[in-house]
């Protein structure tokens, strides 16, 4: 009798858990549950089983290869939603897309607001001047130059009216050089008052000092940096990399400052690039699906790999004016390639914090795109995330 009752109680419990128990029996079941520890234990076990099944992601995600085979056999292209099922969720994909757009907008805004578009019209300092040691300008020489009137060609590139610069013969090589530079589009440091260079701030004059070692490469203006990247990939890595490396996600670079705002350089690193691409096997093997439908040709396949590859790029970096003390924004664009994979483009935007002289801490957002080709089709791997590192400025 008890055994039969237990059986009926258990059936009631199962029907309740499956949403199939009518309300009249629910009251009875609740009473049984209150008094029977065995029944409660069974309920807990069944709920544990159900919860585990709900996390059976392996079962609810068809393999990408199966999806490719189905769509290939029917002559359809693989839908992005199916690809998403094998990789990132729709929410993650939307997040990456949105964040990419926001990053790009920030980069454009930064470029627009910080880039000195008018620099070549108003700047008065040729940053790098090739000269011989005999033409070095120093502050000590400045008084002698102060009385030298500004020539007309010089004034032509100035912001001040040409009439303000009285015409006079050129008496100094240094000024002559300024004139020549002006004719080439460079602009001397002098304010364009009739007082000439005397009106120039000493600090600004010091910047236009030209030394012999400007003629040869020196560490001056060179920055070495190391940074790490933490990027989420689309497609997401379906398979682990076949090997690991301590150098993974570490980027090393060297930059050379062309000016206060512009630098160029080289950067290299090692990263895993998850790849998902489709193609047709060349073996002529036909899948069961193709046998069923009579589809000719090789088997459509979807290939997933996650190679760890070295990459190298040329780098352009724009450094904005300080937003806060010791904090400068930057925008970095890179073009290059990943060894044996394809072309690589990277873009990052962020902040440089210089707590002490010569040392900078870099934090930013970064996106990258790897383009590669397989069987006449182009595929891409996008990454988005953050970067952080240290730079030493010589």
């Amino acid at each position: 009798m008890n055994e039969h009752q237990d059986y009926m109680d258990a059936r009631m419990l199962h029907a309740f858990l499956d949403g199939e128990l009518d309300s009249a029996h629910e009251e009875v079941l609740f009473g049984k549950l209150a008094s029977s520890s065995d029944l409660r234990a069974e309920m807990q076990d069944q709920l544990a089983i159900r919860t585990a099944i709900q996390h059976d992601t392996d079962a609810f995600n068809p393999p990408a290869a199966a999806t490719a085979a189905v769509f290939g056999a029917l002559g359809f292209s693989i839908p992005s939603s199916a690809a998403a099922a094998a990789g990132l969720s729709a929410v993650q994909r939307r997040w990456i897309t949105g964040a990419s757009i926001v990053t790009a907008m920030v980069a454009v805004l930064l470029l627009y607001t910080q880039f000195p578009f008018t620099a070549f019209e108003e700047s008065t300092i040729p940053e790098r001047v090739v000269s011989s040691p005999s033409t070095v300008l120093t502050i000590e020489e400045t008084p002698a130059l102060a009385d030298i009137p500004i020539t007309a060609p010089f004034a032509r590139y100035s912001a001040a009216p040409a009439a303000a610069a009285p015409s006079a013969p050129v008496e100094n090589d240094a000024v002559m050089r300024d004139v020549n530079m002006a004719s080439l589009g460079f602009h001397p440091v002098a304010s364009l008052s009739s007082k000439g260079l005397a009106a120039v701030e000493p600090e600004r004059i010091r910047e236009r000092q030209v030394y012999f070692y400007d003629l040869i490469p020196t560490p001056d203006g060179v920055t070495l940096y190391a940074r790490n990247v933490a990027l989420q990939s689309d497609p997401a890595p379906e398979v682990p990399s076949q090997r690991e490396s301590w150098f993974r996600n570490v980027n090393l670079g060297v930059m050379y400052a062309l000016s206060e705002h512009h630098s160029i350089g080289l950067e290299a690193g090692q990263e895993a690039f998850p790849q998902t691409f489709t193609g047709i096997t060349e073996t002529g093997t036909r899948s069961s699906s193709q046998l069923l439908t009579g589809t000719e040709g090789g088997m459509p396949v979807r290939i997933e790999q996650n190679p760890l590859a070295y990459w190298a790029t040329a780098v352009y970096q724009f450094n904005g004016d300080a937003l806060l003390p010791h904090v400068h924004p930057f925008l970095q664009l890179q073009v290059g390639g990943a060894f044996r994979l394809g072309g690589l483009g990277r873009a990052s935007v962020g902040l440089k914090f210089r707590p002490v002289e010569r040392i900078a801490i870099v934090v930013g957002a970064e996106g990258s795109m790897l383009m590669y080709r397989f069987q006449d089709s182009w595929f891409q791997t996008n990454k988005l995330g953050m970067t952080y590192g240290l730079a030493y400025e010589f």
Binding site: A10, R11, H14, A15, D18, G19, E20, E42, D45, Q46, A48, I49, R50, A52, I53, H55, D56, T57, D58, A59, F60, N61, P62, P63, A65, A66, T67, A69, V70, F71, A73, L74, G75, F76, S77, P79, S81, A82, A85, S287, S288, S289, L292, T293
Partner: protein, 187 residues
């Protein structure tokens, strides 16, 4: 008004579009695949317990589904129709399969994949392999597909009372297999 996110196109409308021009058919097929691909695969995988077989059946299910759409004009239950195709193919596969389970096959079926992270889930998939297929099938339809007893009866072409009993026994058997482990895990 064009289709919108708040009112997705009904299954039957998508089904009828499969007989349209290629672009229309492709879009409709992609949508139905996105809606039910996971459920069909879960059924195949957990019913058959073998990944290779499940993939073959899964692919054939959708191909036959598409071919049927060219002929069938009445459709009221797309997921049920898909599951019926998958079920027939699964039963054929099991019928044709050599009943002797070789050691290698056993390993294939019980080895947890990298995605089967929880210990209990691994045990459940193993337990599913240990119960009779008529129990396993209704269990999968109930727990993986979320079908009601009546829907399951329709898919397996059996009586409601028979389905109720089979589901109950399936759950009891799986619990009896897992009970020691569940207790151990919970401790």
């Amino acid at each position: 008004m064009s289709g919108n996110a708040t009112h997705p196109m009904p299954d039957d409308e998508l089904f009828y579009r499969l007989d349209g021009e290629k672009e229309v058919a492709e879009a409709a097929f992609s949508e139905l695949y996105a809606r039910y691909g996971g459920r069909v695969y879960a059924y195949c995988l957990r019913f058959l317990g073998n990944r290779d077989e499940a993939q073959d059946v899964y692919q054939e299910t959708f191909i036959r589904f598409y071919e049927c759409a060219k002929q069938e004009r009445e459709m009221t239950n797309v997921p049920g129709f898909l599951l019926k195709i998958a079920r027939n193919l699964c039963l054929n596969t099991r019928r044709n399969k050599k009943r002797t389970v070789e050691y290698e096959d056993y390993l294939t079926s019980v080895q947890p994949s990298s995605q089967e992270k929880t210990e209990l889930l691994n045990l459940i998939t193993t337990a599913l392999d240990m119960i009779p297929s008529e129990y396993r099938e209704v269990f999968v339809l109930r727990e993986y597909q979320g079908l009601s007893y009546a829907e399951i009866a329709e898919v397996v072409d059996s009586s409601l009372s028979n389905v109720k009993v089979r589901i109950f026994r399936a759950k009891q058997k799986i619990r009896s297999i897992l009970a020691p482990y569940i207790q151990e895990i919970s401790e």
